[in-house]
Structure formats: structure tokens, C-alpha cells
């Protein structure tokens, strides 16, 4: 029963949502709008479990002395945000929004900015002409890069060549991958709906 009930719920929900997709009847639209709301309820409850797990792990880590400074900052940040939100609220011009805009967003932007350096180091490795495919990749990348710089305007053919590379060879390869992904997603979804795929329940048994 512990396994059968979730499988039955999954089958009925999957079948229902599949059927509703092909209907524009008001009832079908109502179901399409309502069912995702249940997902938010499930998420809200699991978020409590997630936050509890996060706090428990970090507090335990602080006691054991594992990465203590990072964990103290982490738990301190969490407690501070909850406290200021509870005392002053989360509207504009509150300490919560000030911390969010002046500390959290800049920190996130900093991590995002690292991407520029990582792109450079990954490109350096990826573009080394060690084989014929790597050489083709290098030449193609150089052509695209040049076409997007002021130097590209010196050669009339370059922007057109770059567009052709992006719209034909690159796009066709990308679409081929997308077809494979679409088919993989379809079969995986069907396996979940008909109950063959049970990993989400913990396993086959």
C-alpha cells in the first residue's frame, strides 16, 4: 500500500494532465491552473524539512569544528534575515530589503562574475588544436569571435559567414540533440506514469 498509493496517484495525475492538455474546455483549463497549486503546497512543506536539515547540518558542523567560520557566517546570515523580516517586515525601505539589495545581490553578482574567468580558462583548454575536430572548433570560434568585434567589419564576408555557421551547422546539431532529449523525456515521463520507473519512490522494491 505504501508503494501502490503513490503509484496510483501518479498514474491518475499523469493521465489526467495528458488528457487536459488537448482540451481548451473551461473545466480542463481550471484543472490545468489548479493542479500546479498543489505542487506549491508540497514544496512549502518540504522547504521546512530542507531548512531544518540545513540548520542541523551547520550547527552540528560548528560543534565539531568542521569549516567553522563558513558555517557561522551561514547560520548567522540565516538567523539575521529571519529576525529582521519578523521584526520590520519585508517591504521596501526595511532592513530586510536593505540587506537583500546591498549584501545578498552583490554577493550573487560576484559569484556570477566569476563565470567570465572560468569561460576564459575553459576556452583555453577547449580550443587547443590537438586534433582535427579541435582545430575545426578553434577556427569556427575564431571566426565567430572576429565577426562580433569591430575587426569583423573589415571583412565583408565575415558577419554573413558567422551567421551561416550559427544558423545551419550549429543549429542543425543543436536540434538533433534536442530531438534526442525530447524523446528521452517522453519515454522517462511515460515510464513514471505507468509505474515502471520507481526511482522517485526510493527504488524498485
Amino acid at each position: 500500500m505504501e508503494r501502490r498509493l503513490p503509484l496510483l496517484v501518479c498514474f491518475v495525475s499523469g493521465l489526467l494532465m495528458f488528457i487536459m492538455y488537448f482540451s481548451s474546455h473551461p473545466t480542463a483549463r481550471l484543472i490545468n491552473l489548479t493542479v500546479p497549486l498543489y505542487w506549491q503546497i508540497v514544496f512549502a512543506f518540504t522547504l521546512i524539512i530542507g531548512v531544518a536539515s540545513y540548520l542541523r547540518n551547520n550547527v552540528r558542523g560548528i560543534k565539531k569544528g568542521e569549516s567553522r567560520p563558513y558555517r557561522i557566517v551561514s547560520v548567522g546570515g540565516f538567523v539575521t534575515m529571519v529576525a529582521v523580516a519578523a521584526i520590520w517586515g519585508i517591504k521596501a525601505d526595511t532592513p530586510f530589503m536593505w540587506i537583500f539589495e546591498n549584501i545578498q545581490i552583490p554577493m550573487q553578482s560576484t559569484v556570477f562574475a566569476l563565470l567570465a574567468f572560468f569561460v576564459a580558462s575553459a576556452s583555453f583548454r577547449g580550443f587547443r588544436a590537438r586534433s582535427i575536430p579541435a582545430t575545426i572548433l578553434l577556427i569556427t570560434a575564431l571566426l565567430i569571435l572576429l565577426s562580433r568585434t569591430p575587426l569583423g567589419n573589415l571583412f565583408d564576408f565575415l558577419p554573413d559567414l558567422a551567421d551561416w555557421l550559427r544558423n545551419y551547422p550549429s543549429m542543425s546539431a543543436r536540434r538533433a540533440i534536442l530531438v534526442g532529449i525530447g524523446l528521452g523525456s517522453l519515454t522517462t515521463s511515460l515510464r513514471v506514469i505507468i509505474g515502471i520507473e520507481r526511482t522517485w519512490l526510493g527504488g524498485d522494491k
Binding site: 483549463r29 563565470l115 569561460v119 515502471i196
Partner: protein, 272 residues
């Protein structure tokens, strides 16, 4: 908010005729998948081509065990448990967890989604029980870190930098954090196996990781590792559907060429 929607569509029928061809295509696909899955002969004669990423899984686990360092597995920030890619990555996780339980190797699983965390905890616990080492299971190793994209990236980066895992599995739905994680893993010399359904992030994984499962390979590999014959058989359905799509594309090319040369819509029926 829902009532205006209902009022404006009061005279609409149950079936939307605009979606007729989508329905036919979906039904054809479903019939093929169900046939290959349940037909005994189809399940008996099945072989998956060699995928480098699958062969490397065992090596990656063995490497971590020999080096006495952990394995890090993360499903990326872009997906939730409803996404087929996340389901496919759970099959990988199940297989890897069973091996790490047997070899007494630490498995770390940071995630951005508490639902994924709950499912992953269940998957890993079951795998440890199946391996006969339930006592080695540590719930704390499967943890929720942050729901924000770069909070998650920073947390996983920190874990990689401090714990220095010998092997890293980046399997799931990734967005801009993909290269940040893959390059950090590369900098500590970890063997990295990646796979995602995002074509943009695939290019980053290809340059930064040792093995990359491209597109459908992620789904095929997860079926292969699960060892379930029904799941494996459904991979055959993907191949059949792929052949059908190739044939349709070839017909489309011929029809488009004839129309272009003749200057008329001789085969206008293709317009569906």
C-alpha cells in the same frame, strides 16, 4: 481570477482541434513505447552501445575509494523533481550510492531543492540497504544548500574546494552555474562526469569535464545503470521514434525542394 477565464471560454468544446496532429504524434509515440516495454521479445534482445560516460562511472567510484576522498553528486539548479532529467539522474544516484555503500566511500549530494533532497535521501537510503550497509548511510550528506542560483553555486563550490572530492557527477538540469562548478572541479583535479538536457550548458561541460553524456545519452545511461529490462526496452522505443523522425525530415526536405524548384505548392498537404 479563474472565473473570467471560464466565462470567456464558455462555448469551447472538450477537444481542441488545433492539437489534433500533436495528439496523433503523442499516441503513436506512446504505442511504440508501451509495445517495446511490454513485448517480451523486444525486451529479450537488447543491447546498449558503448557510452564512455557509463564505463567511466565505475572508474570514478574506484578512484575516490582508492584516494579515500568523497564523491560529489549534484543535480544542478535548473530543474525540479518533475523534470525527466532529474528522474534520470536519480537512477545514476541509486547506482552510485549502491557502489559507495559497498566500498565505504563518502557520497555528498548538495541540492537547491528540498523536494529533490527528500527524494534523494530516500533513493540513497534504499541503495545502502540494498548493498547491505544501511549503517553507513549518513542523511546529513544529502543536504539542501540554497534555492538561489549563485548561493547554490557558491555552496557547492565551497564544498568542492574544501572537501576535494576525487570524483564529481554533474547530472541533471544546469544553467549558468554549470561552468562555475565544472571549472572548480577541474581545478582540484577531480574526474568529472556530466550530463544535462540544456544544449547551451553541454558545450561548457564538454570543455571542462572528462566525460559528458550528450542529450539522450543521459536517459539511455540511466536506464542501462538501473538494470531494469523494461526501462532498457523503452530506450529501444527512442531509437524507433528517432528513425520515424529522420524519415519524416527526409520527406520534408524532398517536399520543400520540389516546391522550391517548381515554384508551386505541389505537395501542400505537408503544411500540417
Amino acid at each position: 481570477m479563474l472565473f473570467p477565464v471560464l466565462a470567456t471560454t464558455a462555448n469551447v468544446g472538450w477537444f481542441d482541434p488545433d492539437k489534433l496532429w500533436t495528439l496523433i504524434a503523442a499516441l503513436v509515440a506512446i504505442v511504440i513505447v508501451l509495445y517495446t516495454t511490454y513485448h517480451r521479445k523486444s525486451r529479450d534482445k537488447f543491447k546498449v552501445r558503448q557510452i564512455a560516460g557509463i564505463s567511466a562511472v565505475e572508474d570514478a567510484i574506484g578512484r575516490a575509494t582508492e584516494m579515500a576522498r568523497p564523491i560529489l553528486f549534484t543535480p544542478g539548479w535548473g530543474g525540479d523533481i518533475q523534470r525527466p532529467t532529474t528522474i534520470a539522474s536519480m537512477n545514476f544516484l541509486s547506482h552510485i550510492a549502491e557502489k559507495t555503500a559497498s566500498y565505504d566511500c563518502t557520497l555528498i549530494y548538495p541540492t537547491h531543492d528540498p523536494v529533490i533532497m527528500t527524494v534523494a535521501q530516500e533513493v540513497v537510503r534504499e541503495s545502502y540497504v540494498r548493498a547491505g550497509h544501511a549503517d553507513r548511510y549518513r542523511e546529513d550528506n544529502i543536504s539542501y544548500v540554497s534555492s538561489t542560483q549563485f548561493g547554490y553555486a557558491a555552496a557547492v563550490d565551497g564544498l568542492i574546494s574544501r572537501q576535494k572530492p576525487a570524483s564529481i557527477f554533474l547530472l541533471g538540469t544546469f544553467e549558468a552555474e554549470s561552468l562555475i562548478l565544472a571549472e572548480t572541479g577541474n581545478s582540484i583535479g577531480a574526474i568529472q562526469i556530466a550530463g544535462t538536457d540544456s544544449t547551451i550548458q553541454l558545450s561548457f561541460f564538454i570543455v571542462a569535464c572528462d566525460f559528458t553524456l550528450i542529450g539522450e545519452e543521459l536517459f539511455a545511461a540511466s536506464g542501462y545503470l538501473s538494470g531494469n529490462r523494461s526501462i532498457l526496452a523503452s530506450v529501444r522505443a527512442q531509437d524507433i521514434l528517432k528513425v520515424i523522425i529522420i524519415v519524416l525530415l527526409m520527406v520534408a526536405v524532398v517536399v520543400a525542394s520540389i516546391n522550391e524548384i517548381s515554384g508551386e505548392q505541389l505537395l501542400g498537404w505537408w503544411g500540417f
